[in-house]
Structures are given as C-alpha cells and as structure tokens.
Symmetry: C2
Amino acid sequence: MIQTKLIPRTAEAIEPPMLIKNLLAQSLKYEPHREIIYRDLFRMNYVEFNRRVRQLANVLTERGIGPGDTVAVFDWDSHRYLECFFGVTSLGAVLHTVNVRLSSAQILYTMNHAQDKAVLIHEDFLPILNAVRGQLTTVDEFILLSDKVYTGEEPAIPAGFAGEYEHLLKSASDVYAFPDFDEDTWATTFYTTGTTGNPKGVYFSHRQLFMHTMGLMTYLCGYQAVPFSSVQDVYMPITPMFHVHAWGFPFLATMLSTKQIYPGRYEPEMLLKLLMKEGVTISHCVPTILNMLVNSPVAKQVDLSRWKVIIGGSALTKGLAKAALDLGIQVYQGYGMSETAPVMSITHLNDLERQLPIDQQVDLRTRAGRIAPFIEMRLMDDNGNFVPHDGHSIGEVVARGPWLTQGYYEDPERGSELWKGGWLHTGDVASLTPDNWLQIADRTKDVIKTGGEWVSSLDIEDLLSQVEGVAEAAVVGFPDERWGERPHALIVQKPDAGLTVAGIKASLQAKIDQGHLNKWYLPDQIVFVPEIPKTSVGKIDKKRIRSEMKTLILG
Amino acid sequence: MIQTKLIPRTAEAIEPPMLIKNLLAQSLKYEPHREIIYRDLFRMNYVEFNRRVRQLANVLTERGIGPGDTVAVFDWDSHRYLECFFGVTSLGAVLHTVNVRLSSAQILYTMNHAQDKAVLIHEDFLPILNAVRGQLTTVDEFILLSDKVYTGEEPAIPAGFAGEYEHLLKSASDVYAFPDFDEDTWATTFYTTGTTGNPKGVYFSHRQLFMHTMGLMTYLCGYQAVPFSSVQDVYMPITPMFHVHAWGFPFLATMLSTKQIYPGRYEPEMLLKLLMKEGVTISHCVPTILNMLVNSPVAKQVDLSRWKVIIGGSALTKGLAKAALDLGIQVYQGYGMSETAPVMSITHLNDLERQLPIDQQVDLRTRAGRIAPFIEMRLMDDNGNFVPHDGHSIGEVVARGPWLTQGYYEDPERGSELWKGGWLHTGDVASLTPDNWLQIADRTKDVIKTGGEWVSSLDIEDLLSQVEGVAEAAVVGFPDERWGERPHALIVQKPDAGLTVAGIKASLQAKIDQGHLNKWYLPDQIVFVPEIPKTSVGKIDKKRIRSEMKTLILG
C-alpha cells in the first residue's frame, strides 16, 4: 500500500467502529412496530426484539460469558437464533453456529476446536449433545431452547443445564449498554468440511459482517438486483441460519426492521402456511427445497407471484427455473461459500436484460449471477495467471473483498493455501463474461486439464446426457502421458437402450465436425456401468470413480 | 474501548480498505450504459466517465500531483467536478472544493492554509483568482475549465496555465490503476466561516465518505425515506458541489450508476429545461431555489409530480412546503452542516405516518427530519447533561457517527471546542421526539437561558408574528440579574396597525392563560422599530440587536 496523508484527529474526537450493534440500533429508529414471527408460535415487534437481545446479553454475562468467549448454538431457524446473532456478538463474544448436519464426531471436534464455553441447544438436538457431552473440553454452561414454552408446556431441563431460554430471559434485566470495541473483533465462527481432513473453522469480524450487509444492501436495495424494500417485503429464510448466517440476510433484514418470519424446522406445510399467512415476499433456499415446494399440490392453489427466491448451494437447473417462473415465482441465483460470508454473486438483470424474452432470461437466471458489489473476482489458471473474462475461457474463481475469511482457525497451512498469492481460491472453475456474469463450470479438482486446456467435466456430462438412451453420465480426468489428463466417462444406459461406445463416440464426433465443440472434449474411454457411485449427500463421487477407473482401465 | 479477541489473519490474506475508488468501481459493473449529462452541452455513459476519471488522474500525475498533494477546484456543478470527486481522491491526493462565495481575501486564506498545489478553475472565476494569484504561496499548477470547448470555441489560456481540461484529458492515457492505501487517507477538504475568526478547514477521509454513502443509501434505498432507485430515478444536484460535496449525493448516485444531470451555473430556465427534458426525479436545494422554481410561471405548465426535493441549508416553511406539495412536488427536509459531511437527518415518514392527512404530513415534513442511520444524536444542556427526547425539551444537538470531521485543520483549539466531551457540538438547539424527529429551535448563541430553562428565540418570534398587525419580530436574550437572561423583542408594525406594547403583551398573556405557552416566554421588553437589523445574507443580525438593545434599554 502506498503512503498517503492521513486525516489528523483531535484528541476528543470520536469515529465509531463498525459493529453489529450499529446494525441492530437502526431497527429501533423508524419502524419499531414491524414484526418478527416464529412459526405459528410467537410474534413480537422490534422494540420487544431489542429488549430480548439485551436480556440475552444479561443472561450470558451473569453466567460468566464475556468478550472473547465462544457461545455455540444448536437451533432450527428461529427468533432465538436471531437474538444470538446480535446479542452474543454485541457483548464481544463469538457466536459458533453449529452445523447440526455434521456427524457427532465432527460436531465434537468443532466444539472443542472452537473452545465453546457455553451451549444454547434446542431439545431436538439433545441426542447429538448427549452422545459427545462427556468429551467436551471447554463447555461449562448449557441453556435449553424449547418450543414447548410457547404452547404452555414445561420442558424438562436436563441435568447440568442453567435452565430454559425463555425463562432465563424473563428474569433478566433488559438494560444492557453494548460496549464499543475494535471492529476487527471476532464475531462468528463455523466449520466447513472437505473431502479430507478435519472440519475447517472459518471466522468473520464485526467489520466484515457489517460490510457484507452493506454489500447486500447495495445489490438488493440500491441496484434492485433482487428488489428488496423494507416497506413492502417480508423475509423468510429457508437456508439454515447455521449455514453462513442464512447468507447474511437476517443482518440486513433486521437493520431495515423488515417484517421477518422464522420457520423453525423446515416442513413443507408450515413453510407454505407461513408463506401465505404472513405474506412472505423474499426467501433463499437450495434447489431441493424449491423443487419440493413447486411440486407440492398446494403450490398450484395459491398465489406465489409476489415471492422472490434466491437459489444457492447448488446450481438452479433450467427446468426448475422455468417451473418456478410458470408459477409466478421470481427465481434468482446466488453464489458463494462458507469462506466468503457468503455472497459473491447474485443474479442481476440490468435495465436492458430485463426486456429480454423469458427464455433468454432463464438462461441468465440459471447462471451463478453477477459479481456482487465491492467483490473483486478473477479467473486464474494453474500457473497463477489471469484468464480473460470473455464468456468462454475458464479458470479458477479467485476473489478479494471486504468480507472474506482471513484464514482457517488454527490451520495456517490450509489458510495459506486458501489465500495463495493474495487471492482467496474458491476451488470452483468458471467463466466470466465481460459484463460480469459468472458461469460455474466445475470444481477445480474435477476439471480436466488436457493439452494446456481446461475442460469442464460437467460440460461433457451435459453433452453425454443429451445422447439418446443415456440415463446418467459421469466424467473424470485420468492421467495421460502425452496430454497430462484426458476425459474418461462412465455411462448408465436407459433400459434396453442398446447403446455402444462407438455409437456414442460417433454422436459426439458429429458435434465436433459441426464445430459445436472442441475435439479434446471427446472422452478417451467410455465405460457402461449399472450405476454411478454417489456420495452420502447424493453427489457424484468423483474421487471414488477416479480410483475405480484405475482398476477398470489399468486392470 | 473494551478488550476483545480479534480475528487472526493469514499472512497472504487481504481485506481491502474502503476507498472512494471502490464506489467508482461499481459504476462499471452492471449499468455502464446509463448517462451523465452536463447542461445541454455534453453527455457520456459510465464507461466514458470512468475513462475520463483515469485520464484526469494521468493528467495530474504527469504534472507532479501525487498522494498527499492538494488540488483546488473552482467550478459550477459539472461532470468535470464529478470527475475530480473520484479522480483526485483516488490517486491519493486531497480535493479542496473552493467555496466561490467567500470573499477573495477568504479564498486566498483558505488556499494558502490548505496548501493547494494545483488549481482547476472555470473561466467564470478567473477574476477571483487574478485578484489573489500573486499572493498564493503553494500553487504551482493551473488548469482551465471552460464550457467553450463544447460549443467549438477555443478558450483563451491564461499565462502560466498548463492548458484546458478537455484538451489535456484528450491527450492523456486512459490506463491508470488506482492504488490501495489506508482508508483514513485524507480525501477532501473545504472551509466554513463563522461570525468571528478565519475560515475553518473541515476534512474527510475515504472511509468517512464511503460510510456517508452507505448511510445515505441505507436511508434512501433501504428505508426509502426519500425513495431512491437507480433504475427509475434521475438525479440533479441544485446545491453546489463545493457545498459539502453536494451533500454526498454524487458519490451515491455514481456508485449506483444512476442517470445524473449536472446543471452548471444555476439558472432557472436551464434548471427547468433539464428537469423536464432529462426527466429529473430527485434533487436537493435551499428553500430560496425551490421558492424560485415554484413561483416560476413555467412551473404551472409542467408536470412536477415525479420530482422529489430535499430541502436543506435553512428551514422549509409550511407555506413553501404546501405550495410545492400542491404542484405535486414531494418535499423533504434534511439537516446537517459542513462538519458532518453533511447528512445527520432527513425526513422519513414511516409506514404509519404515510397514512396521515396531508396537513399533519406537512407538519412532519417541515421538521428537520429523523436522525439518519448510523448517526447517534443527543441533546445536551449547558452543563454537559443529556436532555430528554420528549418532543419539547430543548438542548444543543450533539452527535457521533462514522462521517464527522475529526477536527479543524491546524486549529486544535476550535477542534477541541467542537468535540468537547467526545461529542460533536453543532451549535444548534433543538428538540427530539422519542421516535427521532428533530425540530431545530435556535442557534445555541441565540437561545435564551432563563431561570434554568432554555427558550427558543425563534419560537417567540413565531408567536409574535401571529399577532395581528405585526410585520416582523426579532427576539434576543438579555442579561437579567435574577433569571440569568430574559427575552426582549423588537417589532416592526404593519402600516397603520396601531399596536401597543400592552396590547401585544395581553395577546401573549391570553395564550399563557389558555396553557398554550409557558409564562417565561413573555418578553420583558417590547420595542417598536422601523426595521430589524439584518446581516449581509439577509438573516436577522442578533449580535447587532443585542448590542443596540443595550443602548435602547440601558440608555
């Protein structure tokens, strides 16, 4: 960084740090009468919400939780979780949003690694806790979260627990002056799992979450990429709050005192009921959830035309995009990852693109979006050189921006790998158009490097799936002496399709001859298999395929 | 500030500073086809604007202007000025926006005090420069700004000038990589005058102007206080760009690649022409300009119902607010000062207030607005104690926030006074409602302190002006042994009104008896005068009145 002249400061002058409490403070300024709603169980306005956040801070402070301590939360999406987003962080403590989908062993690892001091846990997750409780090395406070209190039942308090959340809040003072502190203070942490090694802890500061909120607002409210207005919109997350703070939307929605709906555990009937009853207009979710809702028999009987949905987690297919658009749902797509807090791109049709016919809009809406405000994104090849943003060249997505994790907690080696050369490496391979549309091509580890070119295994799979009689295809790169790597394909035939390797190759060759694709896309080997190996979450298991391929090809 | 745990950082990891160049970068991302227009002389899109900003940076760099140097600009509101807002600051230099309304002597003082190294000056202001040029101690570069180049004329280049702006830009490279530097880097400076002493230099960092933009966006785009959408809105400033960066709106409008119109010198015909032709929807100005436009014969022939105007500088009267609303103009009011970058409050009718009848809306719209996002505002009495926000208690407005000047340049004494006790003192006396509506009552120096109560001289003037036969009234505080101070009034009668002191007092006493006002509002002395002393800019000269009053009363 170059040397410049800094502003002089008067001793008495104050320039406040950017803290999460400053986002919270806005929620009381103009529209404190708007509501935050939890399922069909509980509703309150922002005055009460702020009071409860201060009560939570008192409950924690009284139990010895202070600045620098870590508080783990296990909960479905709830108003309580939202209170933790603000209360835990604003007292200077660190919020550990526990990924309840990890295995007990992984959860145990993350809790000890993060040095959790207190745990707030919904009774649905007690079995997970009970399985590991004896091996926790740092926790000394437990608080129960229960929905029973809203229906008049008394939840059973497990041994060693301080009590139940609502009861503790009720007996706590609602006076708490959140202090000022360094804006680089650690605010949140959570863990991400790769194919190898222990879960990695990412972390974000107050400043980073403040800036993420500003970036999101610039995109949604300023540019109206996904038009968001605190006056007209009603927000309901359908991506778990433990998953990268529900994409940071709760921070923005709370700052703007938007009406917010927290749906608890995701159950289709409850989601649709809340959508209708509370007039939800904006959500985000994975394709699976959207697919489930779109195909629900109720979906056709209700008006979903005010609903905007941002899809993330995995790619939005054209089929699903069209099905949703046909129901009047406005679908968008976002891209990001745990390491990026998460938003790096969201669909944004500009003035000109909004006038395109719906088919061309679908094409744009199924891309990974356009680079978000304040995010600098590039494509990089294996040698660390930048690849042009020409809409077809591909390279690894690398980024800089004000809200990217600055490493992995106590894992400097993988942190340095993530930030190699001063750019955060996403591990995703993509193309970028000159006007900033991002198209994800592959995961870095699955891209096939052949003769100096990068070929997307997903693109070849897409081509093969279009061949008549192909039920499913998987493509992996396989070492090749001359070209470095060459594509090899596994194919599952439809019953009685009677496909041959020669037939499939001929069909691809025809496309090559017509100039539709480059010759290096043609797989060297095509093997018919009864089924494609999948991971536990249903993704194609390319690691296993590569290893099995070795046996298949080399014997 | 309390001690907390900061996020750890990987050596290679980068978290970029918040710089003005980051605002500029967004303007190319999504809507670069939108236009920036200068009068009826010049138009360009954001691609060209960005190119010109880089060319300007090259012109300055080639002429030896670098980080830490100060560049003074004398211009009407123009695209060139906007280019300086971004180009001068982004190369690390300081932009001095010269207040062309100061006297030559004051301008000379500010230029030497700010250590201006280069001057960009519109030919209209050459007489000012020529008057002081020989006494400038630090300037060694002059660049001419001229509108003639857009009409094909060749402007005359004064001796010692490097050339004319457009010509210099044309021959400069459009490649310039704006560097990263500390976000506390000094970005802009300008001078404010008081009743005594030399002009005071305020200054703002990149971070402060970035945060001001975020605050403005939160209010305008997020809360839709004054609904602003880069898709539908067209922005034209009618407050000079040398006056607190045209309230910071050009930074927001540019970041959002809004269509922007720069009107040059303010001429009613040109303003109305641009308003209509370019479809301007949002502006800000002082009441005088709005009054002029509202009363222009053209105003009744055109549709102004899409036009939103934020009034600042002095108070919006109910009469003017109604006249504007009757024409369909949506009027709002803002409050701030040079020291506060400037926005501290803007009108914001919330969900509930929007449903009020128009008369009650006028009442709200003529207040000074509601406290802006991220601004913390309090009322303080003479002893440094906070005054309640109850809608009627008054105290001096003090504030903290992310964009307040951290002092006066090379004037530590007045800087400490400004920031006494860690709060920026505005010198304005006001009341605040519990829901954050600000009502300015008086200037601190004019408020009357009587028997421990603060009484607004403006309130008494308002009461007196409502007495039948009163043409004008001025009220000042006058020392009183028992009460500290007591109000004294000067009154100008309407011709043949035949008012008496006793009659006026009786009329006020009736209001007191009805409980409409407190008895301490009753002036001790009422003196009839043929005219009220005024300052050169037409404000009531209370300083002179106080001194004349001494003669009148004490003999």
